[in-house]
Amino acid sequence: MEEEVKQTGINEQEEYIINMGPQHPSTHGVLRLVLSLKGEVVKNVEPHLGYIHRGIEKMCESITYQQIIHLTDRMDYLSAHINNEAVCLNVEKALEVEIPDRIKIIRTIMSELTRIQSHQLFWASFGMDLGGLTCFFYGLRDREKVLDIFEETCGSRMIVSYNCPGGLMYDIHPNFQKRVKEFLKYFRKKLPEYDQLLTGNVIFRERTVGIGKLSLEDAISYGVTGPSGRASGFSCDVRKHEPYSAYDRVRFNEILFTEGDTFHRYFARIQEMKESMNIIDQLIDNIPEGPYAVKMKPVIKLPEGEYFQRVETARGELGVYIISDGNKNPVRVKFRSPNFVNLGVLNHIARDFKIADLVAIGGSLDMIIPDIDR
């Protein structure tokens, strides 16, 4: 540790070093940020990672493709379904399996529900980061409704593991369509409450507008994707640019802002929830009949080669890169996780702001630590 500090040169005089984390209420997990302060002003932020590193990429090298899916749940646990989908799409693409529409549409609906519940939790915890504890309970109240739908169809609430190569684990529950429509009706009524409680609040605006600005050039150079990048004007929505599943047959807007401050990173997510609801609206009545999975071989062997698949999770662009030598285990699996890359920008945008702003900026990047560490 002693050496580490010297090496980075943060232990200069008149600077006050604080360890934010690994156990801290607003790092959303076991992230350790070493801050050097000058009074209240943050001069340098240095993330120290690895407190929850499980070596998922190493584990993937000794298990089969069906098993990998269950590990991806544990990366970004709030976008579990989308992570599953990324691996499945990649495997299906490698095997050149044609996926029926029913599966594509169900996957899309589930992905968007996942996105909504993830953004709801973001809203809840962002409010809490700024000291508004009531938001947390409002957010969780609505998130429960989505999780109930998941529970009914997937048998599990958060870590769903609903995808498998070639389709889905089980068929949707008969109530699925009814419940989703009920939820949409309910949530359309509740979403204005979010705006009343936070978006329009004077203190909230003061705390977020103009804080932690990220320019478009920096957003691209730092590779900040997802709503955080789109708030800076970086058009990076994989659903739009490289449509997968059923995204090519729905109409939706890519939420783009140019300001790139904390408020717009927050606001982009609120708007995305509306877009997600629109997408589900277009699909929920059009689920065709058919099988819920394509028959696959029990042991999947990918042909030799390299496969790369990008999907849009709730936090940004997830890339899955598989190198196969033709065996049942991959040679190398790399997850390009959005949080890990987004974290790299933290020092750049939080410098010269106050500690309270750092918490707000960190909250607006919506970090999930298991996704950073893998």
Binding site: E4, G50, E306, F308, R310, Y321, V341
Partner: protein, 151 residues
């Protein structure tokens, strides 16, 4: 530009690299010495302008160690893959691309941490997840009797 055009274009940039059309993207394999100069050109040249470094993947091919760069252009919307290899397992090192794409900072540190590939000119090359007493776990010859079950 589509795959074929990219292959021709990248070939014209550098004589040393071998470019082929992969399944999904154009794939260019460069020697470690000309990695940085080619990367600069790919970033700067108006026709390709690969301004978004999607990911850096460190790979242990058994004999060789390598890094795979996925590049994307936000302007033109095309992607390509840049590969670099070395057979030096003791002291593998490539040029850092942090001065071209800032996201490379963390991505290169991750590769260094898990595969032990050094990146020269990286501003702050330290281990990211593990401490200094660990080996490099993503290498194929990494041994851990306790935690890794071998069949």
């Amino acid at each position: 530009m589509n795959k074929t055009e990219l292959v021709i274009f990248v070939k014209s940039l550098s004589q040393e690299c071998e470019v082929k059309e992969g399944r999904q993207f154009a794939e260019a394999t460069v020697p470690a010495s000309s990695l940085h100069s080619l990367a600069v050109q790919l970033r700067e040249k108006e026709v390709c302008s690969f301004d978004f470094l999607v990911s850096i993947t460190g790979v242990d091919y058994g004999q060789d160690l390598g890094a795979v760069y996925h590049l994307r252009s936000t302007k033109h919307g095309h992607m390509m893959v840049l590969k670099v290899r070395t057979n030096d397992r003791e002291n593998p090192h490539f040029d850092s691309v942090t001065d071209i794409w800032k996201s490379a900072d963390f991505l290169e540190r991750e590769v260094y941490d898990l595969l032990g590939i050094k990146f020269t000119n990286h501003p702050d090359l330290r281990r990211l997840f593990l401490d200094n007493s660990w080996g490099f776990p993503l290498r194929k010859d990494y041994v851990d009797d306790i935690n890794i079950v071998t069949k």
